[in-house]
């Protein structure tokens, strides 16, 4: 008989409080993706526009008005940067988000998650956290950093006094991009066991609606049908938030409503699909 049984010991340590359980899922998701070299390469690639714009920003402030207007640090400069980043947000959404729920469905992992003391909401927030983190890294974080760099390079408070509202626009536009992308890809991910299929569907929604808009605007010779395109709706919101003249005739409120609607429908879809028990009626 052993003097002391080391095979199984009862646990008497401290437990973390429940409100932060979602963070366990987020942290794990970030860690798993960060270990993929291809994903890291993509993130580095997505950071290059920030580096280029930082350099432009530096020279535009040093050289003053001798640079063309598109290089001056104004609302247009930040709007253009975030619009440019939208391409990377689509690619990152597919890479990071397509498998977040689909892989769990494929591996029957939901019953493991939900047999632990976490709720479906914790699970959803945890997965959303992964997307918010990576999409934030290529939109909100560099956007805010660019703004701060502009303030620092300027060397006085003039830029901040004249453009303080741009910081709010950067934040609001980034959040619109982040949450629309994140929730739509998670909804597609929750509808299938194949991450590839989820990614293709997500990309199709962006590109198919863009093509459809192109065809319809060509037929009717108007940009009033721009609300059909998901990407254009997001861009129209950017134009509005940065106080720029909309490039399309479609009303901005309609674009905002469509994006809000998609966010609501996506959230509802995920909530419906994330169940510990799959009931086949």
């Amino acid at each position: 008989m052993p003097i002391h049984d080391l095979s199984y010991r009862h646990w008497s340590g401290e437990w973390t409080s429940h409100p932060y359980r979602w963070w366990v899922i987020t942290r794990q998701g970030i860690g798993l993706l960060a270990r993929k070299k291809s994903f890291l390469f993509l993130m580095i690639l997505a950071a290059l526009p920030f580096v280029v714009r930082s350099v432009i920003l530096y020279f535009s402030i040093i050289l003053g008005s001798s640079l063309p207007p598109q290089f001056r640090p104004d609302a247009q400069f930040f709007a253009n940067f975030l619009s440019q980043q939208r391409f990377f947000t689509i690619i990152i959404s597919i890479f990071a988000g397509a498998g977040l729920i689909a892989n769990d469905l494929r591996a029957n992992a939901l019953q493991i998650y939900l047999s632990k003391p976490i709720t479906r909401r914790d699970y959803l927030i945890g997965k959303l956290g992964v997307m918010v983190f990576f999409l934030g890294l290529v939109t909100l974080v560099p956007g805010v950093l660019l703004f701060l760099l502009a303030v620092i390079f300027e060397g006085n408070m003039t830029f901040l006094e004249q453009n303080y509202w741009v910081l709010g626009s950067v934040t609001a536009y980034s959040l619109a991009i982040i949450f629309s992308n994140a929730l739509i890809i998670l909804a597609f991910s929750s509808l299938t066991r194949s991450s590839r299929f989820a990614g293709i569907n997500f990309a199709a929604v962006f590109f198919f609606t863009e093509i459809l808009y192109g065809i319809l605007s060509g037929i009717f010779r108007t940009t009033r049908v721009a609300w059909i395109s998901l990407g254009t709706n997001i861009r129209l919101m950017g134009d509005f938030l940065f106080g720029m003249t909309p490039r399309e005739q479609s009303p901005t409120w309609l674009s905002a409503l469509i994006i809000l609607g998609l966010i609501v429908v996506s959230t509802w879809t995920i909530h419906r699909r994330v169940q510990a028990v799959e009931v086949v009626k």
Partner: protein, 307 residues
Amino acid sequence: MIIDLDNISVRFGAQKILDGVGVQFDGGSMGLLGPNGAGKTTLLKTLLGFIEPEAGGGKVLGCDIRTQQLALRQKVGYMPENDCHIPGMNAVTFVGYAAQLTGMKPKDAMQRAHEILFYVGLGEARYRNVETYSSGMKQRIKLAQALVHDPELIFLDEPTNGLDPKGRTEMLELVRDISSSKGIHVILSSHLLPDVEHVCSDALVIHKGRRVAAGKIEELKATSGVMFECRIKGDQDVFRRELSALRCRCREGDDDLLKIQMMDGLGSRTLLKVARDHGIQIRHLVPLKQSLEEVFMQAIGGTDAHS
């Protein structure tokens, strides 16, 4: 009382899966028995709070299954029936992650994961990706993630599914050790009666969503009437017919042996009287102890006869 469920009914669409099932479990190890589709897994999922019952309610470890699901899941572990893992992880990361989901701090969770993996026999394979595991190893890792937070009660859904005889014996020994030496209450759902008989002290038999027998296994075996093994010389059909008229059950065994399940209150004297009255010689008469299988078949047969 570890589990106290009263009149639980569960319906999926038009189909009633559980129909007024009541469970009282004082602790130890209980086998949840029933043929495939009897409602065992549904009952487990109801106990975990995955499924809201249409009617009835109850408590598991003092937590209401309808309103205190998070507190309940903190105290219980669940080993699902089908293959499941979290993709892209090795065993130690997976079990550590499961521990963190229950609220352990990362450092503690990792330490605990190593301990549990050694306990379930995966110590040497703990850095391998779970997706590369064999069926037996996958069963063990499912047990590990269910045990990692030191639950008071563990639900095991068909833990020996897909295991070879050696793996099955090892898994059953592990479960028996958990129940008898580690002070963790066990609910073992299985359609394999020897598994339940090997591990459990209690049994709950479910058939077509209804509870058909429950209690200590030894008592179930004892209270099902006396059983005899008998060989006769004479007209077997007449003998069987007369016994059936007395509501005794006769089954033919090997070597012309009859297995006779007597009604309560009847014994060997009845057999002898029937034989004497019809000129039949009894050549062999031995009292039998019922196996769990016979209790099970009798319980299920009884329900089928009523329905």
